[in-house]
Amino acid sequence: MSDEIVAISGLTKRFAGVVAVDSLSFTARKGEILGLVGPDGAGKTTTLRILAGILPADTGSALVAGQDVLREPEAVKSRISYMPQQFGLYEDLTVTENIRFYADIFEVTRTVRQQREAQLLEASGMSRFRDRLAGQLSGGMKRKLGIACALIHTPQLLLLDEPTTGVDPVSRRELWSILYSLVFEGVTVLVSTAYLDEAERCHRLLLMHQGSRLFFGTPTDLKSKLPGGALSIISSNPQALQMATAGEQGVLRVTAMGDELHVVVDDPDRRLDQLRERFDSTGISFGDMRRIPASVEDVFVYVVSNQQTQQAREQ
């Protein structure tokens, strides 16, 4: 497909006997945000590094921005941007000096650079800090500068490794609004995250677990993988409630949160009534009980548990 910026097939990478990426296949279209979602050790960073051309793969094919990145990694580098978790900023260089350095590395012409620089700094509210040393910026500002440096040469594809990890919610929102604005400009963004709930912010997502692809598609499709739905029961003693709920028919999973019970069931409406009856008859008190949308975490756990039971059965 002509609007495919990334096309990966059978990608595998091993480190000293451990399989970090296991036969991974997925695509990314122009102007979309593709999320690489999964907990630590899922293989997200390794995948991004391979796509950035800085780590060789063992087998598979990877076409990035029209280039075969496995065979000719250098060819892809002028068209993409990679921002690792530590976003490569030079702390002893000023904001402007950092941007200029990357502009020169990517051979951005002077006029374009001046224009882009002004634009990017303005958009991130950093125009006042042009001459401040990068090391003296706050964490959020550093992140924005990192992105500005990544965008100075107007790449087709942006690879971001866990840009929201450890970030406060307000900065996280700002970051996502920056990503969405890029999408409006036609840039493709591949962003990795360990936050399962960020999966819903992406146009499509690649759910990963221990190096393999668990799911690839839209968030809506992902939710549909869960046969059933979820219920939320407010309670001052969720743990007691949990014990009463766990064995009930149709209950797939129960998690006691701080002040609520999160129940994954096969048939939400039916089980809602069923549980209400059960609690009423046994005199257990509970607060507001209603149907809620299943979370990505619910689906993740469901799919992984299924996989594990299947594997156990095969053995």
């Binding site: 800090f129 900065s171 996502w176 936050y195 701080g258």
Partner: protein
């Protein structure tokens, strides 16, 4: 559940030279409660924890942990608390058993209690029989449970958890929280510090901290409802860019942001967005495919309570 207060904090304040990290915070935690201090880096939560652990003396105010004053009896305080920080507490080049032995030694666990506690910790972590594995080679979930085990060898009454489940896969995380719930049932007070919203949802009560002050306190549900003025709606519409630009001008709309392929719009409670929003957007040539009421998340609450500029501070650190 024992309702006696286990941790009492009264107008605690800490100043470093000209910078006040903690500006008069007060709260009480009951025995067996899981309490969360939720705030970003630099909000003062780490300073509060250090004071409660007896590592820093407060500038003013007071606090007691299981009855001991943190300023005057710091040593006793430390004997009764356990501290777990998944990323930092274990030595990767020691085996699981060696780590447990080391921490047991640190806490003065001796004699028959020593063997019993170590066996318990290994069993709880699921490492019984694998105690000779190098800690560095364990995956996230195992390390997490081992760290928990090493923090409670001396049976503390209070347990401090510092971002204990960050990045760990959901199945392990669920398992971990079951262990915590077990401890809470036994009366251990658990104080969690984190800036991960989804971790905060596991707490019975939360205190949201920003720039040294508590901005809200209550159960997760209470905070969510406290923070969101009005109702929150999911709006799938096309084209998204234009929708975002115009929807903020719609009557009663408090705020709007993009979320995946849709908008999240918070609307004043007195309005009827189900009908009003599609009409308004249609008049600006935006088609609405779906509109649905959704529950606010802790993150929504957080953002709304702390506001844009006070939080994402532009000043230098």
């Amino acid at each position: 559940m024992n309702r006696a207060p286990s941790i009492v904090v009264d107008k605690l304040m800490k100043r470093f030279d000209t910078f006040t990290a903690v500006k008069q915070v007060s709260f009480q935690i009951h025995a067996g409660e899981i309490f969360g201090l939720l705030g970003p880096n630099g909000s003062g939560k780490s300073t509060i924890i250090r004071m409660l652990c007896g590592l820093l003396t407060p500038s003013s105010g007071s606090a007691t942990v299981v009855g001991f004053d943190i300023a005057r009896h710091a040593e006793e305080v430390r004997e009764h608390i356990g501290y777990m920080s998944q990323k930092f507490s274990l030595y990767n080049d020691l085996t699981a058993l060696e780590n447990l032995q080391f921490f047991a030694g640190l806490f003065g666990v001796k004699g028959s209690a020593l063997d019993e506690r170590i066996a318990w910790a290994l069993k709880m972590a699921g490492l019984a029989g694998s105690e000779r594995l190098l800690t560095g080679e364990l995956s996230g979930g195992w390390k997490q449970r081992l760290a928990l085990g090493s923090a409670v060898l001396h049976r503390p009454q209070v347990l401090f958890l510092d971002e204990p489940t960050a990045g760990v896969d959901p199945l392990s995380r669920g398992h971990f929280w079951e262990l915590i719930h077990q401890m809470s049932r036994e009366g251990v007070t658990i104080l969690v510090t984190t800036h991960y919203m989804d971790e905060a949802e596991y707490c019975n009560r939360l205190a949201l901290i920003n720039q040294g002050l508590i901005v809200a306190m209550g159960t997760p549900t209470e905070i969510k409802h406290l923070a969101i003025k009005g109702t929150l709606w999911l709006v799938e519409c096309n084209p998204l860019g234009r929708a975002l630009a115009v929807v903020k001008q719609a009557p009663g709309v408090i705020d709007a942001s993009v979320f995946g392929a849709a908008l999240h719009v918070s609307v004043d409670a007195s309005r009827q967005p189900l009908t009003e929003l599609p009409t308004f957007l249609a008049s600006h040539e935006v088609r609405v495919d779906r509109i649905e009421l959704i529950s606010p998340s802790l993150e929504d609450a957080f953002v709304s309570l702390t506001g844009d500029r006070t939080f994402s501070d532009e000043s230098a650190q």
